[in-house]
Each structure stands twice: as structure tokens, then as C-alpha cells.
């Protein structure tokens, strides 16, 4: 089939694509959109808290905006943006033509997307969830209306998508590495993706179980969490945090991976202590499962349990410290270039260390009785989550933008974004440590004058507007770049070390005309140092087998979306049950179609590959 014959309309192309590079763009757009939504909610929260006794957003509505801010940011912005980076880069970094299961990759995206849309439909259908992003059962079972049902069903659907994505990356990294790409030659970002995917595999099932119990309790008359009926609300808290703590590492390990790539590239040096970095990543992943109850010190688990979880938590600081020092030593003696991604990377170190230090403070169980549910905690987790994850996502977006879209983002605008965001971030959150220590509680919609909270909150709100301005500059940058950006080379920054910089920007559909032979860590750098232009091929040029695109992932996810509405209104609308069943039938029917239709994919012929490669080289 020729390239011309396969031309489809852009929208249909993206609805049916199974190409990891296009799925990356879908994740980037959808995650970016939800990041804007979550950011707007954050801005509303900060406006409400700017002065005492404000009435911009009060009571129940404040609770909804607060809950949706947290839920959106974690599940619908940070997670998919991480998946955007992983999809854009990891298959190319290991020398593969695609992920192991391209169809599942698309399914993962569409499940996340419909889950997110479902969750946000709550705004228009009687009110959003309002029990916090943690949705503790003692609160959420009492919440009237359908808000919590939207939370439960929406997260269930998007959680399936994440689980599928995680499994896909595990299989890809285990099975699809190019010849010579041993585990200890994998780029750090690939390692981070690997460990993160393993965490997803083990952390999401507890969430699924917790959500199923809550769905039973709320929609089908169950009583897993109803104390009056013999249930126990604490079970939710444990299940949630057995998922929830690994979740923060699911977010931050890829961030570490992104920064490792950036530090090495722009210091023009091999990553310092590569093997200790791998070790630290695996160790963090492992310890991440042993500490969840540090979120529950005040629940009353008893001194022994508290002590065990406190010590386990503090232990994680050790591998994290190893990483921090390795990054510093990577820069030490390097030939440093302060590009936009590098500025985020350098700013990340002190910001994240501050979040880590307050983390160890929180881990001291006795002291946590004081910090718990105060703004101190809000400051802590925003330092790690914004100073770590969001900085990394912004850095990664600038770093890999030329690879994904073939155009360099404007560096001047990029640096303006950086400074606005960096200043705004510290303005917003630094002062919150002190607000918390002075006694300002978390998740409360207002405070009284004369308690000493006025100045701090005003500063914090001003900072939030700086971050909003940074986001606007970033959007302008994206638009300007798309319209008249400078075209990017394959090795867009000139100092690329890993395989993704050896293929064109954007890469051809098949990534590598010939699967490369990997001869060491930083495979592309090795070739460049030997004066070669391209990679050493590991196979002769031949026809390339590609998977067919398919609309089924979209339809499967749409079916669940419809079913969720049906079951939610099952008891109050006559159409409820029928719609629920129809939705499930759509999903199961398209799964059935997927099983019975033989799909052998297609071949890109050798001549076409030659043709395409000539165009790139010229």
C-alpha cells in the first residue's frame, strides 16, 4: 500500500491510530487540556483564599473545585503527560519500531480519555465530587447527589487505561529492545519507565478493588465501608494509600528519568553513577510499597505500626539522596549549556530537595500529629509534585518537542516561561509552610481576619497568577512555533546521546529503517564519537511490518462511558439499566470483533523505505 493511498482525514487518523508517536501526541493534548482545567481550578481556589471571609467560592462549591483540582491534576494531567513522554520516547530509545501491543496502547489512551471526560461531566449533571481527591469513605458515602459516583466510575475507567498502558510498557521494554541493548545499557528514562510500569502493575489493582467496593456501597446497596452494617471505613483508607503512595512514585520516577537525560545531554557528559542510579530507582520503587500508612499516622494504628512506617519512609530518603548527588556530579566538570530544559533541571534540584526535607519531617510520626491536615502538608506535596513532576514535564516537553513535532520551541519564550513559573511556584508554596505551622487548616474554604493568615495567603495567590502567566506564555510559544517555528534536525540539540536523536524529527512511521545495533550506554553518542553519521544497523534493509489502525479502541472505551451513565442512573431513571446494558454490549461486542477479525497488518516495502529515507537525508 502506498503512502498516498493511506492518506486519511486528520481526525479519523488520530481516532484510529495505533502508532506510539501519535498516541503520545494524543496524551499530550488531552493531558495538557486537563492540566489547564486543573490549573484554572487551582486559580479559583487561590482567589477564594486571597483574603479573609471571601465569598468568591464558598462551602460545597469550594469542596467540589478543590476535589476536582486534586483529582484532575493527579489522574488526568500528570499521569497522561507522563504517558505522553513515555510513548514519544521509550520505543525509540530502545531501538524498537513500536510498543509491544499497539492496539492496547490506543485502548489505554481512550479509556483514560473517556474516564476523564466522564469525571468532568459531573460539573454539568448536578455537581462534582466533593470529598477530596482521597475520597475517604466516611465522607464520600454520606455525600448526596452523584458527585462521588462520577469519581468512582470515572477513575475506574481511566484506571483500566493506565493499567493497560503500564503492562504494555513492561512487555515492550522486556521484549522489544534492539540487539545489544542490554538492561544495563538502557537510557535512564527507559529504566524509570520500566520501574514505573511495574509500580502501576502492582499499585492500580488495590485502587480498582477499593473503587469496586465503593461502587457496590454507593450504587448497589453493599456495605464494605458502612460501620453500621458491619463494614469498616478504614479499609478504604488503606486500599487508597496502598495505591496512593506508589502513585506518587509512578509520577516522580519518570520525572527523575527525564532529568537524568537532560543533565547528561546538556552537561555533555555521561550520567554520573549510572548503575547506582538504576539501583536507586529500583530500590525506591520497592520501598514505595512499604510506606503507605505514613498518610494515616493520625488514624490510630498504634505506636508500633506508626514507628515501623515512619522508619520505612525515612529510608526512602537514602536512594533519593544518591540520585541527587549523582545529578550534581554529572554537572560537575561538565560543559554545561543552559537551555530551557536544563534550567528546569537545575531549578528542580533545590526545589525537590526542599520537598524531600519536609517529607522526612512529615515522616516523623509524632511531629505529623501537628502537621497533619494543615497547609504544611499542602506545601510539602506541591514542592515534590510541582517542583519535581511538573518541572520535569515542562522540561521534557521543551526537550522532546522537536522530536515529537519537528520544530524547535522558541528558547527566549521558553526561558520567560521558566522564570515566571519558577518564581510563581516558590511564591505560592513556600509561604504555605509557615501558614501551616501557624495553624491554617487544609481543605477549609475561608479564614477569619486577625489570625495572621492575611499576608501569607495574599502572597500565595499572587504566585499562582505568575504560574498562570507562565502557562499563557507557553501556549503562545506553542502557537508561534507551530506557525513559523524553525525546523529541527534529527539531533535537534546537537548533543543527543540516546537513540531517539538518531532518527529524523519527527521520526518516520517505522522509526528505524534498519534496527540498530547498540554498542554501549548512550548508543548514539558512541557512534558520533567514532565519527559516524548514523547508527550501525543490525539487519539488512527489508520490508517493514506495521500494524493496521483501528477504531475499536475508541468504541470499546465509548461503550464503558455509556455504561457508566446507565448504571449511575439505574435506580432513578427508567432508561438507566437499559443504557447500562447497551453500553456493556458495545464494549463486549467490539472486543468480540477484535478477537474474531484476523488482522495481519501491512508491509511498508523496501522501495518506499528507501524513498522516504532519501527525503530525510537530503
Amino acid at each position: 500500500m502506498s503512502t498516498v493511498a493511506r492518506k486519511k482525514s486528520l481526525i479519523w487518523d488520530y481516532l484510529t491510530t495505533v502508532d506510539h508517536k501519535k498516541i503520545a501526541i494524543l496524551y499530550l493534548i488531552a493531558g495538557g487540556f486537563f492540566f489547564l482545567v486543573g490549573g484554572l481550578e487551582a486559580l479559583f481556589i487561590r482567589i477564594q483564599l486571597a483574603k479573609p471571609n471571601n465569598d468568591f467560592l464558598v462551602g460545597g462549591l469550594y469542596n467540589q473545585v478543590l476535589t476536582m483540582h486534586g483529582t484532575t491534576m493527579i489522574f488526568l494531567a500528570a499521569m497522561p503527560l507522563v504517558f505522553a513522554m513515555m510513548n514519544a520516547v521509550v520505543p525509540i530509545q530502545i531501538g524498537a519500531r513500536d510498543v509491544a501491543f499497539p492496539f492496547l496502547n490506543a485502548l489505554g489512551f481512550w479509556l483514560f480519555f473517556f474516564g476523564g471526560v466522564f469525571l468532568n461531566c459531573s460539573w454539568f449533571l448536578g455537581g462534582a465530587p466533593d470529598a477530596g481527591w482521597t475520597s475517604y469513605a466516611s465522607l464520600s458515602l454520606e455525600s448526596p447527589g452523584h458527585g462521588i459516583d462520577f469519581y468512582v466510575l470515572g477513575l475506574q475507567i481511566s484506571g483500566f487505561g493506565t493499567l493497560i498502558g503500564g503492562i504494555n510498557f513492561l512487555v515492550t521494554i522486556i521484549n522489544m529492545r534492539a540487539p545489544g541493548m542490554t538492561y544495563m545499557r538502557m537510557p535512564m528514562f527507559t529504566w524509570a519507565t520500566f520501574v514505573t510500569s511495574a509500580l502501576i502493575l502492582f499499585a492500580f489493582p488495590p485502587l480498582t478493588v477499593g473503587l469496586i467496593f465503593m461502587m457496590m456501597d454507593r450504587l448497589f446497596g453493599g456495605n464494605f465501608y458502612h460501620p453500621a452494617a458491619g463494614g469498616n471505613t478504614i479499609i478504604w483508607e488503606h486500599l487508597f494509600w496502598i495505591f496512593g503512595h506508589p502513585e506518587v512514585y509512578i509520577l516522580v520516577l519518570p520525572a527523575f528519568g527525564i532529568f537524568s537525560e537532560i543533565f547528561a545531554t546538556f552537561s555533555r557528559k555521561r550520567l554520573f553513577g549510572y548503575s547506582s542510579m538504576v539501583f536507586a530507582t529500583v530500590l525506591i520503587g520497592f520501598l514505595g510499597f512499604m510506606v503507605w500508612a505514613h498518610h494515616m499516622f493520625t488514624v490510630g494504628m498504634g505506636p508500633i505500626a506508626n514507628a515501623i512506617f515512619a522508619v520505612a519512609t525515612m529510608a526512602i530518603a537514602v536512594p533519593t539522596g544518591i540520585k541527587i548527588f549523582n545529578w550534581l556530579f554529572t554537572m560537575w566538570g561538565g560543559n554545561i549549556r543552559f537551555t530551557t530544559p536544563m534550567m528546569y533541571a537545575v531549578a528542580f534540584i533545590p526545589s525537590f530537595v526542599m520537598g524531600g526535607v519536609t517529607g522526612v519531617m512529615n515522616a516523623a510520626a509524632a511531629a505529623d500529629y501537628q502537621y497533619h491536615d494543615s497547609y504544611f502538608v499542602v506545601a510539602h506535596f506541591h514542592y515534590v509534585i510541582v517542583g519535581g513532576v511538573v518541572f520535569a514535564l515542562l522540561a521534557g516537553a521543551h526537550y522532546w518537542w522537536p522530536k515529537m513535532f519537528g520544530k524547535m520551541l522558541n528558547e527566549t519564550l521558553g526561558k520567560i516561561t521558566f522564570w515566571l513559573f519558577f518564581i510563581g511556584f516558590h511564591l505560592t508554596f513556600f509561604i504555605q509552610h509557615f501558614l501551616g505551622l501557624m495553624g491554617m487548616p487544609r481543605r477549609v474554604f475561608t479564614y477569619l481576619p486577625g489570625q495572621g493568615f492575611e499576608t501569607g495567603n495574599m502572597i500565595s495567590t499572587v504566585g499562582a497568577f505568575f504560574m498562570a502567566a507562565a502557562t499563557i506564555v507557553l501556549l503562545i510559544n506553542v502557537i508561534v512555533t507551530s506557525v513559523k517555528g524553525q525546523k529541527a534536525e534529527a539531533d535537534a540539540w546537537g548533543d543527543g546521546r540516546t537513540l531517539e536523536w538518531a532518527v529524523a524529527s519527527p521520526p518516520p512511521e517505522y522509526n528505524f529503517a534498519q534496527t540498530p545495533l547498540v554498542r554501549g550506554l548512550d548508543a548514539y553518542w558512541i557512534e558520533k564519537m567514532e565519527g559516524k553519521k548514523g547508527l550501525t544497523p543490525a539487519e539488512p534493509l527489508g520490508d517493514i511490518h506495521m500494524p493496521n489502525s483501528s477504531i475499536l479502541p475508541f468504541v470499546i472505551s465509548l461503550g464503558l462511558f455509556i455504561a457508566a451513565f446507565g448504571f449511575m442512573y439505574r435506580t432513578e431513571a427508567s432508561w438507566g439499566l437499559a443504557v447500562g446494558i447497551i453500553g456493556l454490549l458495545i464494549t463486549l461486542g467490539s472486543m468480540f470483533l477484535r478477537s474474531v477479525i484476523d488482522d495481519h497488518g501491512f508491509h511498508i516495502h523496501k522501495e518506499e523505505v528507501l524513498e522516504a529515507e532519501k527525503g530525510v537525508k537530503a
Partner: protein
Amino acid sequence: MANQTNTGNPHVDLAYRRKKNAEEMKHQVISFVLMIALTLIAFFAVGYNEFSHWFSVPFILLLAIVQVAFQLYYFMHMSHKGHELPSLFIYGGVLVAFVTVWAFMTVVWW
């Protein structure tokens, strides 16, 4: 997966594979018989009135663990080369599940 490695010499290969497969078969039959025996013992433990529940429940759980091991190692070939990662992940999962249940038993319910 592992028994597809070949030396390039089809004759050596065939003889070797024959022997290897016969050995495998023997193991499979033995473990099959053992599993049936274990199942019968489990039924017996429930049916026999002299055993209290405090004995038979943990006892059956123990038999179940043995059966799972047989299943994985003899029928699903986990003992073969090339299954290190699957075993790592299985044991990882078992560990996480164990810690979870253990925590529930100690800090939630008792």
C-alpha cells in the same frame, strides 16, 4: 521458548530434544499424580471428622500453595531458562499482596 535453541546440527538436536522431552514428560506425569493425590488429601481433610477446622483450613491452604508451585514450575515451565523476569514479577506481586493482607490483619482488624 528455551527448547527452541539449537546447535545448528539437526541430528544432535533431535536426539537431545527427544531425551529432554522424555524427561519433561516424566516430571509432568509425576506431578500430575501428586496433584491428584493432594486434591484427594484435601477432600479427606474436610471429610474426616477427627480433624478440627483449626487444623484443616491451614492444612488445605498449605496444599494449595504446593499445588500452585507444581502448576507454575512443572506445567507452565517456569523452571526453564528465560523465565527469570516472570518469576521476579510473580514474587514481587506475591510480596505486595502478602504485605497488604498482613497489614489488614494486624492494623485494621485486630
